[in-house]
């Protein structure tokens, strides 16, 4: 039986503990083979990262001349790589970390909020040309970021209609606005597409009955949709967070050429060299930058469950 059954009071009202389709499938897929397969996948997926972790603690000479598994039989460990990563620059790592945070938080919140609204309209407010418009938005996912760099930068530097330039030497907000805006633009099509699909899965009767009760779209959106959408929003939020956190290209182009607003990735790229010749520094740097996303993932995982509970109560 399930061991992680949510213990929220509402769940307790049910007579039988919930049991999902897949857990049933798993049980009868003969537990042993299933576990074995899961373990194999997990090992294959973890091995490269594990090698990276071991390498990050090995001395430079060792890393470059023999395989990381040699450290298991002949352990030589040092914190040198981490020391170099953390203190080796004239701008300290904390500044890069703060830049990354300052870039990431709005670049996650803004596109998701906009996308949830747009997705709701596309899913539940009927209007003329809705499908065409949605398909167009969906199709624009394919525009590679590189294609947009020059035209977008031109608009930021020299906007039409005498608008305030967002990039250049006296950029407002130290040049962060262009980065936030660009990330928002690049995230929107996929966000709208994904969230729309999640929203369509919510039973229509729910919306209809709310309409009958006299609720407007804004009320339905904020009182019913948002709570129901929590897992989806959390899931997409994680991915958007990762994309922004790991982004190098957008930051390089749109940060206005100002090193003091560069995120962690710029520092990492400089450390490891373009071609990863300083493997020992890259390995340590990768783990430094990995810490934050991992914490976010682990803490948001709980959210999935909570969102689902909310869903089961209302549904």
């Amino acid at each position: 039986m399930t061991t992680t059954t949510p213990t929220a009071p509402q769940a307790g009202l049910k007579t039988a503990p919930p049991k999902s389709a897949s857990s049933a499938a798993r049980e009868s897929l003969s537990g042993r083979w299933a576990s074995a397969a899961a373990i194999v996948i997990a090992i294959v997926w973890t091995l490269p990262t594990f090698g990276l972790l071991v390498s990050s603690f090995r001395p430079e000479g060792e890393v470059k001349t023999n395989g990381w598994w040699n450290a298991l039989t002949d352990p030589q460990f040092t914190l040198d790589s981490y020391r170099q990563v953390i203190s080796g620059a004239d701008i300290d790592l904390a500044t890069y970390m703060i830049n990354s945070v300052v870039i990431t938080i709005p670049a996650v919140l803004i596109p998701i909020s906009l996308a949830v609204m747009a997705a709701y309209a596309f899913a539940w407010i009927p209007f003329k040309g809705r499908d065409t418009l949605f398909v167009a938005v969906f199709a624009l996912q394919i525009v590679p970021i590189q294609v947009t760099m020059i035209p977008l930068l031109r608009l930021y530097v020299d906007p039409p209609f005498n608008l305030m330039p967002l990039a250049g030497n006296d950029a407002p907000g130290g040049g962060f606005y262009t980065v936030w805006l660009s990330h928002t633009i690049f995230a929107l099509p996929l966000a709208i597409f994904l969230l729309h699909n999640f929203m369509r899965e919510i039973p229509g009767e729910l919306i209809e009955s709310a309409r009958v009760d006299g609720a407007g779209h804004v009320q339905i959106f904020s009182k019913i949709m948002l709570p129901l959408m929590t897992p989806a929003i959390a899931a997409f939020g994680i991915f958007q967070f990762l994309w922004v956190w790991n982004d190098l290209l957008v930051a390089l182009v749109f940060a206005g050429g100002n090193p003091s607003v560069s995120p962690l990735t710029v520092r990492l790229a400089a450390l490891a060299g373009q071609r990863g010749e300083d493997w020992h520094l890259l390995s340590a740097g990768a783990f430094v930058s990995l810490v934050v996303p991992l914490i976010v993932f682990l803490s948001l995982q709980r959210y999935f469950v909570r969102g689902l509970l909310a869903g089961s109560v209302k549904g």
């Binding site: 999902s20 798993r26 897929l29 996948i41 906009l114 407010i125 525009v143 035209p151």
Partner: protein, 328 residues
């Protein structure tokens, strides 16, 4: 700018943004009529649409326009329109042997990556669902997502590292081959298999995406459906085949589509792992090379336009699926 300044700027931006969105919601909340619904729809969609039009549609149009011109950069607005070459760039793509190979590789990437990554993600999501170590197990598969693509490629370059059979090995895979008595193998150099080994890297990264989304979808399957099926004696693989998969079908399509489109746009892996050598280049990378290394913006734009064209079938398929779901 000090760190405090930056955080203040960030707070201002976020507060400003939410104030404006909140205002829109409050202002349109009272509207109930048919016309009011239209205004609401507009208010919900307009901000996104404006950004997309400026940031994506306009550059995309510019790219298609550029693809009919020669090497120098040719903006739609304010360009001189001098070196029009018609379909020359496209002719080059379809007659040049190297570029044909690029097309072939791209096809392989787009077909294999979504299928393999989604299958692994789905199977894994099912296997670990509600098991005792679920969170931990998920984190393991998710881990590669948290590493940038460049980082991932470098990690795998070390996995694939080649040294002669009589040398000390740095790469895990060749060390294994050597340990069991085989000759070491040039993973990144031996055509045509090297493309497959590059695809392994993106599968490694994307499986976590598939797993996370599909796991959320599986958890959303209403329990009563499963219970009812079980009462009817449906169990095991059949349950998976007839209940689980159909229930998460929309999510499956979303995952497949998203991964295909991501795959078409990925250039970091090829760039870092092989630099497009040994017959491993793909469209997105070739676009980058032509535009920003050879500074042939025309040919680059033609390659990018080709990416748009390739995605069209995926888009059309999705629209069909959407329509079918609507009809249901």
């Amino acid at each position: 700018m000090t760190s405090t300044d930056k955080l203040v700027q960030m707070a201002i931006a976020v507060v400003l943004f939410f104030a404006v969105t909140g205002l829109i919601l409050v202002l349109t909340a009272r509207l109930r009529s048919r016309n009011g619904e239209r205004v609401q729809a507009a208010a919900f969609i307009a901000p996104s649409l404006l950004l997309i039009a400026v940031g994506l549609l306009y550059p995309a149009a510019g790219t298609i326009y550029q693809s009919f011109f020669g090497s120098s950069y040719q903006p739609i607005l304010g360009g001189e329109g001098g070196n029009f070459v018609g379909l020359d760039n496209y002719r080059t793509i379809f007659t040049n042997g190297d570029l044909l190979q690029v097309l072939q590789n791209t096809a392989l990437w787009v077909v294999l990556t979504p299928l393999v990554a989604t299958t692994i993600g789905l199977v894994y999501a099912v296997l670990i669902d509600r098991s005792r170590f679920e969170k931990f197990a998920k984190a393991l598969i998710f881990l590669p997502m948290a590493i940038s693509l460049v980082g991932a490629s470098i990690i795998w370059k070390f996995m694939y590292d080649y040294k002669g059979s009589d040398q000390d090995q740095i790469g895990v895979l060749n060390a294994m081959l050597k340990a069991v008595g085989f000759d070491t193998y040039r993973f990144l150099l031996t055509e045509p298999w090297n493309t497959l080994f590059l695809i392994v890297i993106i599968v490694w990264v994307q499986a976590g995406f598939a797993m996370t989304i599909l796991s959320a979808a599986i958890k959303a399957i209403p329990d009563d459906i499963v219970e009812a099926a079980k009462l009817d004696g449906v169990n095991g693989l059949k349950l998976f085949r007839y209940i689980t998969v159909p229930s998460i079908r929309p999510s499956l399509i979303v995952v497949l589509t998203t991964i295909s489109i991501t795959t078409l746009k990925v250039f970091d892996i090829v760039r870092t792992a092989t630099g497009g050598q040994f017959g491993t280049s793909v469209l997105a990378y070739e676009f980058y090379v032509q535009s920003f290394r050879s500074f042939d913006f025309g040919l680059g734009a033609a390659l990018a336009t080709l990416i748009f064209v390739l995605v069209t079938p995926i888009v059309v398929y999705n629209i069909r699926q959407m329509r079918r779901l609507e009809a249901r």
